[in-house]
């Protein structure tokens, strides 16, 4: 009897001790979870939003080569209501003399006091060059055959007090239209870019910066595969024109309603912004590499083949908004305010611009841009 009572008591205790251990464990687990949560709460200042940095994007334009461009920028400043501290120009590609910075090219920019973005042909070329010639030249550049030319260019720039020039070697390499097109020879392109950077940086006192500039959009290959590396690049650039070859976009059919035109324009913009190799992609790419995004060329377009958006104020508004959005980290953006030789019109500031509505819109928006 007594024995039974004792066993009952023992098993009872056993039963309770299991329960008590279980309960204690549950209390501890819950306690730890609650403690962890409470101590992780941002109670002191809340998850306070940091004020967005206001955009420091600088607007500017390209109005033509050398003296023409330098003079044009004065009028552009009046038109755009902003100062234009940057200037864009292109090396002629016919000879090494043209590439390495001839006096006629550099002097107007030196006198303008603006910071030049010098689009640098990777080697001299002629329109009639066979593809094999370009291929050979690019490989020569990649192996350092032209290093002295780059040093010469650097010295020319330094000699004119233009040590802060931004160089734009082999721009739009992801397209097919320049002889340094990198498709199928990405490594040569990358190596050539690196040789240029290394050679020019070898000059004492230089402050050159280098702009790696895909054309953007869907081109021959994914341009980011030809990125020379963070050590060789200061800016990531992308060029944006209101052109489209996608179906149901441009050309806007004759007699189309305004609503239809706007819908097509919106579709094109959506692709420019979010599409493959679009603005968002490059903005993210630049941020991921710790670089600022720049837009060395942007523009409206009226083309003989109709693939331009024409007078499209929405494109202008969208671009200004993108450039102004601090999250996109745009350092500068230059409107291509000149017509190209083969009937592709971009002129905006001129009173005879083929885009009067866009011109008005640009002015109105710039009145509110700082």
């Amino acid at each position: 009897m007594k024995y039974e009572r004792v066993t009952r008591r023992v098993t009872g205790l056993k039963r309770y001790s299991v329960r008590i251990v279980a309960a204690t464990l549950a209390v501890v687990v819950a306690g730890v979870a609650v403690f962890n949560a409470v101590t992780a709460l941002p109670y002191k200042r809340g998850l306070t939003a940091v004020a967005l940095p206001s955009s420091d994007a600088v607007f500017g334009a390209y109005l033509g080569p050398a003296a023409k461009g330098a003079n044009g920028l004065l009028a552009w400043q009046q038109f755009s209501l902003t100062a234009a501290p940057y200037a864009l120009d292109f090396s002629a590609g016919d000879s090494w003399e043209s590439i390495t910075g001839p006096e006629w090219m550099l002097k107007p920019w030196q006198r303008s006091g603006r910071r030049l973005i010098y689009s640098l042909a990777m080697f001299p070329h002629q329109p009639a060059d066979a593809p094999a010639v370009s291929e050979l030249r690019l490989s020569q550049c990649a192996t350092g055959a032209f290093d002295l030319r780059w040093v010469e260019l650097g010295r020319n720039l330094m000699g004119r007090g233009m040590a802060r020039t931004i160089l734009r070697p082999g721009w739009e390499f992801d397209g097919s239209w320049y002889p340094w097109a990198a498709h199928g020879r990405k490594q040569n392109y990358v190596n050539c870019f690196r040789r240029i950077v290394t050679a020019m940086r070898s000059i004492p006192g230089q402050k050159f910066q280098f702009l790696w500039n895909p054309a953007g959009g869907v081109n021959q290959f994914a341009a980011e595969e030809a990125y020379p590396g963070d050590g060789y690049v200061n800016f990531v650039g992308v060029d944006v024109y209101d052109v489209s070859w996608a179906s149901n976009t441009y050309p806007v059919p004759a007699g189309a309603s305004e609503a239809d035109r706007q819908a097509r324009s919106a579709a094109v913009w959506s692709n420019k912004l979010n599409g493959k190799s679009g603005l968002r992609f490059w903005s993210d790419f630049a941020a991921a590499h710790g670089k600022r995004l720049v837009i060395p060329e942007w523009g409206l377009s009226k083309r003989l083949d109709g693939r331009g958006g024409g007078d499209n104020p929405e494109f202008v508004a969208n671009m200004i908004q993108f450039i102004q959005d601090p999250r996109n980290g745009v350092a500068f953006a230059l409107y291509f305010d000149a017509d190209s030789a083969h009937g592709d019109l971009h002129r905006l500031s001129s009173t005879t611009s083929p885009f009067p509505k866009s011109r008005d819109r640009f002015r109105r928006m710039m009145e509110r841009v700082l």
């Binding site: 309770y16 329960r19 008590i20 279980a22 309960a23 549950a26 209390v27 687990v29 819950a30 730890v32 979870a33 609650v34 962890n36 949560a37 409470v38 992780a40 709460l41 941002p42 109670y43 002191k44 200042r45 809340g46 998850l47 306070t48 939003a49 004020a51 967005l52 940095p53 206001s54 955009s55 908004q321 993108f322 102004q324 959005d325 601090p326 109105r364 928006m365 009145e367 509110r368 841009v369 700082l370």
Partner: protein
């Protein structure tokens, strides 16, 4: 025995098991009942944890639109408040009146404005624990109270100068009083129940949809008991509905204020996430609750039905009546959260009761693992609940600080925006400072008896010679900052002023406009 039971049913009776207390030992390690004072032990941890959750950071988060409205309405003179309530927000009138007195006593800091909500939320947690103890056992009550405290929405609306915490408290209290009155259906108890329903209706009319759950429970009670005194419930309901009717009637004339609420597919799909403040917590708690409900179904069907209808009927009601009432909004349905917490809190108890007679606190407390889970999966949402500004809302506090830091006498301010307008917010943020003159105002919101002011249509005369204007534009960074202003005002400002500076904040920007002719 039967006679006595009719007169004075046992305390913890569930109508499915009229003899449950006698037959089933509950609430203890060894089968004996815990003393009454143990109720305190159940209620205190829940209330304390809720206080910790709601008081941490209560003043850090910037106010947002609705809270600014609370401040505005509660600091009006009574005649202005009367004019306002004739046009809008009558259903919130008792809360505004309460806050009027509160502000008179404790001031209008963020902390003071939100403190009543925190206190009511803690009271709600305590009541949830007591209700759980009454429904199931002490362990279940303790767990339910802690679960409630861990819901991100409880933090959020316990730190919000709006009446939703009050509504939750009244909903839980009314249910607790319902069970007490069913136990001993005296007139006094039913009238007390009715008065709490009046309170629920006063703080938020939608809270009265809890009567759907009460009705289901009472239907079970009527079936199980031949006691006509239970019909006194109807008297309580009549008191509650009559008390709330004037507000509801007036409020229905002002439905324009809630015309923006939607009840489309995404509103329905997002409802659990919004009510709980975290879809992870919603999923976990609802999952455990449904499991517990299934295990409890056999022995506690009435309570399970009460809790399930409490949890589900109000949103369903609001959804079905949406074309007429426009009340399908997560904030209005927060009072359903205790039902989920109670069911989920009873998970441990349910498992035991499913397998055997009897239970014990220790085993019921095993559901504390659910509490751990809620705090674990809910942590990001608990942090997010303290986000400042509220996600998607303009950072008016930051914008106002930027303006106040640099404004000079003689400056003017212009407010515009697409969804929100900074006027009321700046009124709060600049309540102890000198705001620039609101140049466009023709008639103030006080004069109009609304939340918005009437702006003048002839900006040339209104703005006059103001040399510098601050444009507070609650627009996205990519929009034209003057969107929302009449064309004439836009044209005037663009022609007479130059934009010289601006600063971006979340969903709001501040622009400095300088008069052109002074250049």
């Amino acid at each position: 025995m039967a006679e006595i039971q009719v007169l004075s049913p046992p305390l913890d009776v569930d109508v499915d098991e009229p003899r449950s207390v006698a037959a089933v030992p509950t609430d203890s390690l060894d089968g004996g009942r815990l003393p009454r004072w143990s109720a305190v032990l159940v209620a205190v941890p829940a209330a304390l944890l809720t206080l910790v959750m709601t008081l941490l950071g209560i003043g850090s988060r910037a106010m947002w639109n609705d809270e600014y409205a609370t401040w505005y309405a509660s600091t009006l003179t009574f005649s202005d408040l009367g004019r306002l309530l004739q046009h809008v927000d009558t259903v919130v009138a008792p809360y505004y009146l309460f806050m009027h007195g509160w502000i008179a006593l404790f001031g209008d800091s963020e902390l003071s404005l939100r403190l009543p909500s925190a206190l009511f939320m803690a009271a709600a947690a305590a009541l949830v624990a007591l209700l759980g103890r009454r429904m199931f056992d002490t362990g279940s009550g303790a767990v339910a109270g802690l679960l409630f405290a861990g819901i991100p929405s409880v933090t959020r609306y316990g730190q919000e100068a709006r009446p939703y915490a009050f509504a939750i408290t009244f909903a839980v209290l009314s249910t607790l009083l319902l069970l007490r009155a069913v136990d001993r259906p005296s007139w006094l108890r039913w009238i007390g129940y009715g008065l709490v329903l009046v309170g629920a209706a006063m703080v938020h009319i939608v809270t009265l949809t809890i009567l759907l759950a009460h009705a289901v429970y009472m239907w079970r009670v009527f079936r199980a008991k031949d006691d006509f005194r239970q019909l006194r419930w109807i008297a309580g309901v009549v008191i509650g509905i009559t008390g709330g009717l004037p507000l509801a009637a007036k409020g229905s004339q002002q439905s324009g204020a809630i015309a923006w609420i939607r009840a489309d597919g995404s509103a329905v799909a997002n409802m659990p996430d919004k009510v709980f403040g975290s879809w992870q917590v919603a999923l976990l708690m609802a999952g455990v609750a449904v499991l517990a409900a299934a295990f409890l179904w056999k022995r506690h069907r009435s309570l399970v039905l009460l809790l399930l209808t409490w949890a589900i009927a109000p949103p369903l009601f609001c959804y079905l009546t949406f074309p007429i009432l426009h009340l399908f909004l997560h904030r209005y349905l927060l009072f359903t959260l205790p039902a989920w917490a109670l069911l989920a809190g009873a998970a441990g108890y349910a498992l035991i009761r499913f397998t055997r007679e009897g239970t014990s606190i220790a085993l019921s407390l095993s559901a504390l693992t659910v509490v751990a889970g809620v705090f674990y999966v809910g942590l990001p949402a608990l942090q997010e609940a303290r986000r400042s500004p509220v996600l998607g809302e303009p950072d008016f506090r930051g914008a106002a600080a930027a303006v106040l830091a640099r404004t000079h006498p003689g400056d003017g301010v212009v407010y515009t925006g697409t969804g929100r307008n900074g006027r009321r917010a700046f009124g709060f943020e600049g309540r102890d400072a000198k705001l620039p003159k609101d140049v466009l105002v023709l008639k103030t919101s006080q004069q109009l008896g609304g939340f918005g002011a009437q702006e003048c249509t002839e900006p040339v005369t209104c703005v006059g010679e103001t040399r510098r204007l601050w444009l507070v534009s609650a627009t996205e960074f990519y929009m034209d900052p003057m969107i929302g202003l009449p064309e004439t005002t836009q044209a005037f400002l663009t022609s007479a002023y130059t934009l010289t500076e601006f600063k971006n904040f979340e969903h709001v920007r501040v622009f400095v406009l300088n008069r052109k002719d002074q250049l």
